[in-house]
Symmetry: C2
């Protein structure tokens, strides 16, 4: 049991990986092919020793005296994050937020294949966002089942979020990216990633109100 | 110096406050007027002792044997988060994401007053989102200065984000809510709160790819 636990990575480490990945991608775009934990520290705000420790969890890609090869590290982190795969996704809630995500550049680039949007508003059902048709939410569960949808995105108002999550899960979705300000009740084997915009905004509000009244740790 | 530091609250505590605030708001909506650290633990996923410790930082609102008065705690946390104030805000980037935020229910409710949207696309300048006019981004700095805008929101593509931030800051903005996948360079006295959608999506992807291969701490 203990050995098992020691081999696993903690969530706090995992949550730092996408930031490393993003900054490495920016270095690549700028044509920079070699970096160091010190430079990554400057870019990400984490300490250099923290970064070395984090990356060591995955076998350690750095070489003493050389640092990290940006392309290799970026590619390795991409595999660790599962970005070398294609995921079938759908969005429920075809309002502005749903459309924003449907049009989000980084989304398709990272292997997230949007198959359809769903809404319950008859005025938008049948319309297209780019090439993607908006379908009736009544068809959601069947569509998810029939098209091997792995990630369901929720951009509905709070009061519909749980119903949408239930339809996703019955249809066989494995992960939910939830933008509704609701805490979804799902089985432990379903992965939920929440984007709570209010919580982010309220954090900003706190810092504006209590300037300097906090420590960065 | 040390005493000073001890009186300050750590960022990790602060980031938990909006979650408490949101759950207390839901309890209020459901007509529940009394709660406990145990119930808040069930709702938020933090431990009861963690919650008691967090709330003690702000004077401690609970009473032994009674628990917390939901309305009072909600109101106190609202004040701590600065939500009893009105903030003037503008959005730059009037695409889907900017419009989604402009239409976001919780935004106005929490005291964030949207004065205008800005864009550089002549096709949308002059249009209205609800009552709010879309203006030319060339007017941004002057508008911010003339209307006491405290929070600037960025929903532009990455490549324009730094220019927008610079205009905001020259105009006198104190905080930036940034949705562009860019790391803004600003002076230390400017508060930046980032919403990096890609990082959230990549975390979901990690958990789907590495199911069970992590520990929750």
């Amino acid at each position: 049991m203990d050995t098992d636990k020691e081999n696993k990575i903690s969530i706090t480490v995992i949550r730092r990986l996408p930031k490393y990945y993003r900054h490495l991608g920016e270095l690549l775009r700028r044509g920079i092919n070699r970096t160091s934990s010190q430079e990554l520290s400057r870019l990400t705000g984490f300490t250099a020793s923290q970064i070395r420790q984090d990356l060591n969890n995955f076998g350690g890609f750095g070489q003493q005296g050389y640092g990290y090869n940006v392309e290799e590290l970026h590619s390795q982190l991409g595999k660790i994050l599962g970005l070398d795969k294609i995921y079938n996704t759908v969005i429920t809630g075809a309002g502005n937020l749903g459309q924003a995500i449907a049009n989000y550049r980084g989304f398709a680039e990272a292997g997230f294949k949007l198959l359809s949007l769903f809404d319950k508003n008859p005025k938008v059902i049948g319309l297209k966002i780019g090439d993607i048709e908006i379908r009736d939410v009544d068809e959601l569960e069947d569509f998810v089942r029939g098209n091997n949808v792995e990630i369901g995105i929720i951009t509905t108002p709070r009061e519909h979020a749980q119903d949408v999550a239930d339809a996703y899960i019955k249809g066989g979705v494995k992960g939910i990216w939830n933008f509704a300000p609701a805490d979804l009740k799902v089985d432990d084997n379903i992965i939920i990633e929440n984007v709570h915009l209010n919580e982010s905004l309220f954090t900003l509000s706190y810092f504006l109100t209590n300037k300097g009244d906090y420590v960065k740790s």
